[in-house]
Subunit: 362 residues, 4 copies
């Protein structure tokens, strides 16, 4: 396992702000639509941060947020943030197509960047951003918030500590009667959640992807996608994504050689650990094997309630001040983009089995 | 819709037993392992049938069944049944590899045949059996019991009556901590259930199949399989099959343009109809579409409890006496075998997208 | 049924504010602890209201609320509100023991009053407040918020429209691992919810109460109470209240002669209507009766999401401007207090069956 | 704790069958209606028993059971069983009103007796039977089957081992859309289950009972009853019984000072143990107490599937052969009858608090 537990190599030197590394990070928030106000609220409450400014082209949105936070300066000019020496970092919650240009400008201006998932609209864009961040010794962090969700972290620990044994397979459904996006498919909208979680849990990017999709309501915008994933370790996974479902499902089953887990993000008991399995006493004699089935206790570990976004933004600030690679790293963000691109490539080729682009070299 | 509601053409002449078509059908049951005794019990209670004999190579099994039904003759000789003129039909519940030879012998001897699913181990075998049955004007019926399950029939009616609108997609999970089979994969063991149900509901065989599988416990016997299915109507489906699961799931979601259904075979309310959907007011102007989401009542229709196997065997007897093609027809059984073969072919070719063999010509 | 559908007589003349009856009601909110800020937030958004001032003895609380609503004046002086001619009404969210004196002062000063449940700490206090409100022609409204909860209203309509038939009995559990109150029992804390709902649904106050209680954690503060209720109509009810429970339950079963309802306030489907029942074909011949059981469809009606407190405060403002008795009327609030007093009386007399004090005369 | 763990004193000498105490007990089964065939089936499979005969006044029922068990002699004469020296014991599954006379005759004839719950229709009858059994040194065992249900035993062990701490209270619902009995109330029909379980868990009979009931469908046969119970240890309990309910509920909550348990007999996870509770750090200073709430893991212990009736009848045979008092002892059966009588007495006195008759002296 690598240094930071993400399977990625930390650069080690990194992102220090010199003499002032314990001061709160001054963050400007750009994009005040659906998600941006959540960034403002959490940064406002985070001891490691200050909200330096809020920015949106729409003055109504600026007014709304400023009526709640009168002390925070507002602007419609993104460029003015770049020139402001009191702004340490920029948090971006704008449409996906704008991620790359805004992030690039910010990095070029010497600002650390937090950007909502997905990191960029193409892997080429994402790679360029990574290079830019590295060249300028700045933090670039995509907002894969689920990596900070306590149930996801609990399961990650169960896997990393070997409690589940070898991971045989993972099956997950993320469906609801949801908000169709005008510009992206359901795989771009919901896929980053599951792809980032799988990457975090398995410390491995899938090698191959096969996908089947349909645009049920709007023919050119896929609103249901079934995705099969293969990993070099032997693990396989299925991901079902849909905006068309009678009820909200956030259900993931993780089957290991020792134990099994059901993760249901809509439940009061989001993680349930089943001490169940199958034993094959004499693997060499398949012909006359006698399997024994084990069904033991089921445990719902208590999981502390914490807001993942708060933890995530704290990780961002500590990455800036302390030089640690954040859990939701730019490398992970890039690989998520590659996975979605592989889904798109499979779909474009009639659902053929498609290789995921090579991992970031260590 | 076709004559018999299965999408298959009924031969019309068929299987009459001449002058005695209202007399109970005399059925011999072959194979008294796990399932055979259920056939005996239901045939014993069915007004349209008589259990003419029971047959198994294992005399202990014969003794057990005869201690409960002392009046039923028992034999270890399959051939003796063929020669017995008082035996009208043979019901076969033996291992899959024996289906084809036993069925062929029975048909050649002029006996109607009921055989447990799958109909045969290969589509070639199945095709030969269909030809033999047609040539001898005999009923050949595979035991796709779920086609007689009241919830499955309820949903079939909802679809056939247009209540659900166009079927956008179906997603189904049939998993449990189950009995690994020594000789067949999970797709051959559990797949016939879902494939027969999908065929019955959609009146359509999928055109293409893509599958991903793993032998988690015994490497050469796949115990988890993710299957994507495409239909020419545009419908798509996902089928998850597994013997390795923390808990039993029998959950199917059917998403139509008008309503959605959740079918949970483990629930007291196996069918739930959701009056939910998405409306696209002006389909021609995708650019500026405004979707409206509809969430209405949820109804769990009352579903009468009846034993599907009892209904199925009744259908078998009526097919013999009345000449109607049974709902679980030989043609449907053949197509189910073709679907499983397509799954195997996809798996053998690294999960490539695979065409399902051509449908039976009308 | 009475004029306002509550079983209470509306005074008819009532609470007009003369020439200005369509102007927003200017409400001062007193008590900014746990619940008061919710009053402020909803009044702030309500077209029919203006928040005239906020008041709390604790300046920290004032500062917190004013940092969010800078335009709202704050004061630590309750009396200053009474003298302020621009204040039409006072909304009180202070501890129960202060309800009566604060309400009385406000009514004497000519202010309409909204007060959190329960209306007062004794029925004598409550009666005095009703008299004072009547004498001054002012609205006095206790905050029985559940009467504005959409599921509760849906069930009320099912009952009032006869869909459920005669109400045989109601059984309800309101339990959780909850916040023990320092000064009141669980019956005073949680009981007003169920007692107000029962009063609203049945249009009837119970005639007799029997209670059993225990102070499990703190001996002199009952934290679990089992309450049996009898109504003159023949209906009976059981109410279980507890702060000690492994999981949160808000489950009510209503059994009528025609249909049955389960109301689960923690569920996505809070109201489920069961078309189930028992028929007694020949009631006169009990000796040889043959009951038939009916189990039909189950329907979860779609229930619009609305914040009950918002609807409740709207009702308060309309009562002031329009003269209608609010649904959560002072009379209902008084009867709720009488029910809780009857519980206390039963407990004080070793759980004896206790009469509820006479209803308010019409 | 007493010798046999039931809180009752074992007589110590007891029920030996002299020299032949390891031979199977020869049991005649009387009453072949709904439940009797289950007794026959389990006794037939029990190594410690032989079915000596079956007896019913209705020859159709005799024929039915004998067609399944041709080797078992059948008779319509109860008296003939009494005279048969090869009959060691008689198992009675007849209507409640016949329990006392049939049991008395059997005991007088020197036969051990197993009788379906409740033991008798009145406590006087039950006491007379106990005296008769003691005088003749015979086993008299009522069929409180739930005492052999694995979930009930699991909870009993959790309580007896102190895992739950002091038992604060128990709340239980046993309701369904059920079979109204022609001759008895719901309390006599379903109450024995909960009363025997409570007696087994708490090793204590309640001191006082308060009940509220209604005959909804047939006025003189109560089909819903709410029962409050007080125990001298301080524990309290509520028992809800009903034949009129939208869905089947078998849910019991046990709240202890250390842990809490939910027992749901309809669930795949019938026992769930919640490591939840409230701590009162300084009990002496109630005025300024600070409670801390604890919410820990939830565990569903694996519970082996076994048929309670099989275990119960084994206990009966071992009591005959080994002299141990069975878990479902006559004393417990007597106290259950006293509890139901107290419920009836409370109902007859308008729901007054009623003392349960004195316990059996040790």
């Amino acid at each position: 396992m690598s240094q930071n537990g993400n399977g990625f190599h930390s650069n080690g030197n990194g992102f220090h702000r010199g003499s002032d590394s314990n001061a709160p990070v001054r963050v400007a928030v750009v994009g005040l639509g659906y998600w941006g106000p959540n960034l403002v609220r959490n940064l406002y409450e985070l001891p490691e941060a200050r909200v330096a400014a809020v920015c949106d082209a729409d003055t109504n949105r600026l007014d709304t947020i400023q009526s709640r936070y009168p002390a925070i300066p507002g602007t419609t000019s993104f460029d003015s943030l770049l020139e402001d020496p009191t702004v340490d970092a920029i948090a971006i919650a704008t449409p996906v197509s704008t991620h790359a240009p805004l992030c690039a400008k910010a990095l070029e201006a010497g600002k650390h960047v937090f950007v909502e998932k997905p990191l960029a609209a193409t892997s080429e864009e994402a790679e360029a951003l990574l290079a830019l961040a590295a060249a300028n010794d700045l933090v670039l962090m995509p907002g894969h918030t689920f990596l900070y969700s306590p149930p996801v972290v609990t399961i990650r620990d169960l896997i990393a500590n070997g409690v589940l044994g070898d991971i045989y397979f993972i099956s997950t459904s993320r469906v609801n009667l949801g908000l169709h996006q005008a510009d992206v498919s359901v795989a771009w909208d919901l896929g980053p959640h599951d792809f980032s979680i799988l990457r975090y849990w398995l410390e491995e990017t899938p090698s191959h992807v096969t996908a089947l999709s349909r645009g049920c309501v709007i023919p050119h915008i896929p609103d249901v996608t079934f995705i099969n994933l293969e990993f070099e370790s032997g693990a396989i996974a299925h991901v079902e994504l849909s905006w068309l479902s009678p009820s909200k499902l956030r259900r993931t089953t993780i089957v290991g050689s020792e134990k099994m887990v059901v993760y249901d993000d809509t439940s009061n008991e989001p993680v349930r650990v089943f001490d169940s399995g199958v034993n094959l006493p004499n693997p060499e004699s398949f012909g006359e094997y006698r399997l024994t089935y084990r069904t033991g206790d089921i445990v719902s570990p208590h999981i502390a309630a914490s807001e993942p976004l708060f933890l995530e933004l704290g990780d961002f600030c500590r990455a800036i001040n302390g030089g640690e690679t954040p859990r939701s790293s730019a490398e992970l963000g890039l690989e998520v983009v590659r996975m979605i691109e592989a889904v798109d490539a499979s779909l474009a080729d009639d659902g053929s089995r498609t290789e995921v682009a090579a991992n970031v070299p260590a």
